[in-house]
């Protein structure tokens, strides 16, 4: 038996109001601002609002942003992008919101849980209701009328809170994983720059090499001094450089298992992969020179150029960061669309440290890279869980046991793992 849901009209629960119509000169300075794109891209408003708007005291009162407020995008080019929601989970003092959005403020407390409604409004169930009701003239738009038609099917407040908490924990877990990845990336970058750009890798007595007066000699190829005993090597000699096979957009499938890397990052999924390991790739058509690390078991297309270090004993994090300093954008050719060719990139020189240092470096970065890839995998799992669980919880098909007990006493007792 399905958990009981109660039907509400949107306008029974919320008051709708329009956003600020600002002048261009107000933008870019002043007080925090909730923009169209912030709403569009976030299920919940981010902790810090990056954008600014120079507003008057009166405007800040009228267009305020408070805990529990829902913001909906008001217009869009297409129906399925209309009425995208973002929920405020705290008060944002002095903030105002965009005129291209609507604010829904709860009429009374204790009816709707903010976390729950955030997921609810982004769920398939609600998106469908929105699309059915929206009006497509020149642009899709969301107005008072639609607002009054729309209905919400909500469980009791208590159940909402429980569902909201669970889903939000998963959501936050993903955010935390992303922050971890970010930290790990920055750390890896700092180490590389300190060791191989500044040449302050630890010397025999674990002191920074260059700063402690380590011997240096001038390298003509690099036009700078490098540590004694190190070499320079061309990318072509250091790496196997190639463009893999491109697949057509048509054969990609959102439900397939493996990621596809296009010119600038992930572009879809495919049923096969052409690279077992995580590779370092550079976009080589269109916007050239962007560096990515692919996930293991991915399909890399010909719009990306793979840089595989020939010496298997060197972690590819080394080439990732070496490329970062080469700025390959400058080597692009092509009159209309930019293009990087193997011939053009192969000739660039990079510094090659001696083996001992490489070994030390590997010992440090290999676990970092490993950890990063694990975090990506973890994010995937949690994202899948979130995607799978959200609709089931929202339509009442899955519920919390004690809540269900009240409704369905006849339910067979289940084994408790706890």
């Amino acid at each position: 038996m399905v958990n009981k849901l109660k039907k509400y009209r949107f306008d029974e629960l919320y008051d709708m109001s329009s956003g600020i119509s600002s002048k261009p000169e107000q933008a870019g300075h002043g007080f925090p601002f909730v923009s169209f794109s912030t709403i569009f891209n976030n299920v919940f408003l981010p902790n810090e609002l990056d954008e600014l708007m120079n507003t008057s005291i009166k405007e800040r009162q009228i267009y305020s942003v408070k805990k529990g407020d829902i913001f909906l995008t008001r217009t869009s080019e297409t129906l399925d992008e209309l009425g995208m929601s973002s929920v405020a989970l705290k008060d944002y003092p002095d903030a105002t919101f965009s005129g291209f959005s609507k604010r829904l403020r709860p009429k009374e407390e204790g009816l709707v849980d903010s976390k729950f409604i955030g997921f609810y409004l982004r769920s398939y169930l609600f998106r469908k209701a929105m699309n059915n009701n929206a009006i497509m003239t020149l642009r899709a738009s969301f107005n008072e009328q639609i607002f009054s038609y729309l209905e919400l099917l909500l469980p009791t407040f208590e159940v909402q809170c429980k569902i909201g908490e669970l889903l939000y924990n998963i959501y936050e877990k993903i955010e935390v994983c992303n922050s971890l990845i970010n930290q790990i990336e920055n750390m890896s970058m700092s180490i590389f720059d300190y060791w191989f750009i500044q040449f302050d890798f630890p010397n025999i007595s674990i002191k920074p090499y260059k700063t402690s007066g380590g011997e240096m000699f001038y390298s003509k190829e690099l036009n700078r001094k490098i540590p004694d005993g190190w070499k320079t090597i061309t990318l072509g000699d250091f790496c196997e450089i190639y463009q893999p096979k491109t697949i057509s957009q048509k054969v990609m499938d959102a439900n397939a298992s493996y990621l596809v890397y296009g010119s600038n990052g992930i572009i879809g999924k495919y049923s096969k992969f052409n690279h077992e390991d995580s590779e370092v790739v550079v976009s080589c058509r269109g916007a050239c020179g962007n560096i990515h690390r692919t996930r293991p078991k991915s399909w890399i297309t010909g719009n990306s150029m793979v840089f595989k270090i020939k010496n298997k004993n060197i972690n590819n994090e080394f080439i990732y960061h070496s490329l970062r300093w080469l700025n390959l954008k400058n080597s692009s050719t092509g009159s209309v669309q930019g293009q990087l060719t193997r011939t053009n990139v192969s000739v660039h020189n990079i510094v090659l440290p001696d083996e001992k240092i490489i070994k030390k470096y590997n010992n440090i970065v290999a676990p970092l890279v490993e950890k990063k890839l694990l975090l990506f995998a973890e994010i995937d799992k949690y994202q899948n869980l979130l995607d799978w669980l959200t609709p089931l919880l929202i339509n009442g098909q899955v519920t919390f046991k004690e809540a269900q007990k009240h409704i369905n006493q006849a339910a067979e007792p289940q084994e408790d793992y706890g």
């Binding site: 935390v176 519920t399 793992y417």
Partner: protein, 544 residues
């Protein structure tokens, strides 16, 4: 004293009122308008130039209150003596050709016919010097009948309106002006006509910056005497005028060919304005690629000391492509002729034929500057690469300047200028100017403009063979061979690593802070994990 600026305003006003007349008679922006404007302007110019010249020769005439009447007083011999002394680039006029004469009879019943007849008569009498030849050998006269372009009933009124504008003020003062004056006037005169609305042959106006850079790099010596300058796709002649001016108008002879009738007319006017009348006979209308006109005494294609060109980049020449593939063209098109594609015939790379034609048409010490699409400088296959190979291997490349995008308002294609100098056997200069310039909006189009300082910077880097970080490199022909014949400066730039040194203390600090935030995040991560797992265990499914 009337100043240059005032002359300029007066001349521009005249041009504007002529345009006004055209639009009053329904010809505004029509294909005929430019003919009427340029011809009446030319008539005015020739008339006043004649007056100016005769007054230099004969002080009596200069003093006369009305020089036209004074000329009529002259005996036939006196008049002939006078005209014989005129410089060869002045059109010889009879007294009934004068603007003042036509002005006097403007109320006669067939004035429009008289007006046209007068123009035709001037053309015939000066045909030897002022006509343009076509490749078939016929001569296109200086003037054509202009009032016939107007509805019959309106012709007299139209001709009257025109003559009343022309009589107003005298050009005589402007003949003391210099090159820049005429360049400005010419540009003003043709600004509405020199665009691609004319169909297949897009006569894009070559921007001043490009023309100036080309001329200033080609002409570095002071003492050039008696040289030939050539443009196989001359358009209205901006490039040639800049080049001739840099060399000295009296020290060079100009040769040109262009397929477009409009271009030939504009070019002729440009030459007349710029004291290059002696070169008029070398202006040829016709297809350079199919039927190059200029030949030497042995009936071989003529070679030139200086060549400038901004050829069309892409054009459908499928119709005569196979005619080009002949034995006598073997040498001229050494790198080959583009094949006819199955689709998009309009995008056949005709610039590669112009480029080969130019290389073929240079004397053994010749110099050239050619505008090409930037794709040419790096293409790894086909004709483009063969041409580059030839330039490098026969050591004729002087350098390349890659221009910013949108330097031509009418096209988004990026362009580069290739410089050839057969005396330059080493040290090629490659300049990447693509990051210079300021973007402005011109109508709907984005356009990039180079400042005078930036122009000068490019010219100076090139002529002094300077290496400037991220802008230019000086390389040898061997370096270019090593880079697979690439002419792109960016590929030779040294990667310069710029960074800020950090101290060991701050490095250690940042490592510590990473550790701290990572462990904090990890703690939070596992707390969340516990929380999530706890809640998941409480879930149950009610089925459908």
């Amino acid at each position: 004293m009337t100043t240059t600026v005032q002359f300029q305003t007066q001349v521009k006003n005249l041009i504007d009122s002529l345009k006004g007349i055209c639009s009053n008679y329904g010809l505004g922006n029509s294909g005929d308008e430019y003919i009427i404007i340029t011809q009446t302007f030319l008539y005015k110019f020739l008339n006043d130039k004649f007056a100016y010249e005769v007054k230099q020769l004969n002080t009596e005439l200069a003093k006369a209150e009305k020089w036209q009447q004074a000329i009529e007083q002259l005996t036939e011999e006196e008049y002939e003596m006078l005209t014989l002394q005129l410089s060869a680039d002045t059109a010889v006029l009879q007294s009934h050709h004068f603007i003042s004469h036509l002005f006097g009879i403007q109320n006669t019943s067939d004035f429009a016919k008289t007006f046209d007849d007068t123009l035709m008569d001037i053309a015939i009498q000066n045909n030897d010097i002022f006509s343009v030849i076509t490749t078939s050998g016929s001569k296109e006269p200086l003037f054509e009948r202009i009032s016939e372009k107007i509805d019959e009933g309106d012709r007299n009124a139209f001709a009257k309106a025109v003559i009343n504008q022309l009589v107003d003020f005298s050009f005589e003062h402007i003949f003391n002006e210099k090159y820049d004056f005429y360049a400005t006037i010419f540009e003003y005169l043709i600004k509405d006509y020199n665009n691609d609305s004319g169909g297949t042959y897009a006569e894009y106006y070559t921007p001043h910056a490009v023309a100036k850079i080309m001329a200033s790099i080609l002409v570095t010596e002071d003492n050039i005497q008696d040289v030939t300058c050539y443009d196989p796709s001359a358009g209205s002649g901006t490039l040639l005028m800049n080049l001739a001016h840099a060399i000295g108008e009296d020290k060079c002879t100009i040769y040109s060919q262009d397929v477009s009738k409009k271009s030939s007319k504009l070019l002729r006017l440009n030459l007349i304005l710029n004291n290059l009348v002696h070169s008029l006979q070398n202006v040829v209308r016709g297809n350079t690629i199919l039927a190059p006109f200029h030949k030497d005494n042995d009936n071989e294609l003529q070679k030139f000391d200086y060549i400038v060109s901004n050829p069309p980049f892409k054009l459908d020449f499928s119709e005569y492509r196979d005619d080009l593939d002949s034995k006598e063209n073997n040498e001229r098109f050494f790198a080959g002729i583009p094949n006819i594609p199955k689709k998009k015939k309009e995008s056949m790379a005709i610039y590669s034929l112009f480029l080969q034609h130019i290389i073929h048409s240079l004397t053994k010490n010749g110099k050239a500057a050619i505008v090409v699409p930037t794709g040419f400088i790096t293409a790894q296959t086909g004709i483009d690469k063969k041409i580059r190979k030839k330039m490098v291997e026969s050591k004729m490349l002087a350098g390349v300047v890659s221009m910013p995008s949108n330097i031509f308002a009418t096209t988004g294609t990026n362009v580069s200028i290739v410089f050839i100098d057969k005396n330059n056997t080493e040290d090629v200069v490659l300049i990447d100017a693509s990051n210079l310039g300021t973007q402005i909006k011109e109508g709907k189009n984005k356009k990039t403009v180079l400042s005078d300082i930036e122009e000068q910077q490019i010219i100076e880097i090139f002529n002094n063979k300077k290496t400037v970080d991220n802008i230019s490199v000086v390389v040898s022909n061997n370096d270019i061979i090593k880079k697979n014949y690439s002419f792109s400066a960016g590929q030779y730039f040294k990667v310069k690593i710029e960074y800020i040194d950090i101290s060991n203390e701050s490095f250690v600090d940042s490592m510590v802070s990473y550790q701290k935030s990572i462990s904090e995040l990890s703690v939070k991560s596992s707390q969340l994990e516990n929380e999530i797992f706890k809640n998941l265990k409480k879930l149950s499914c009610s089925g459908k």
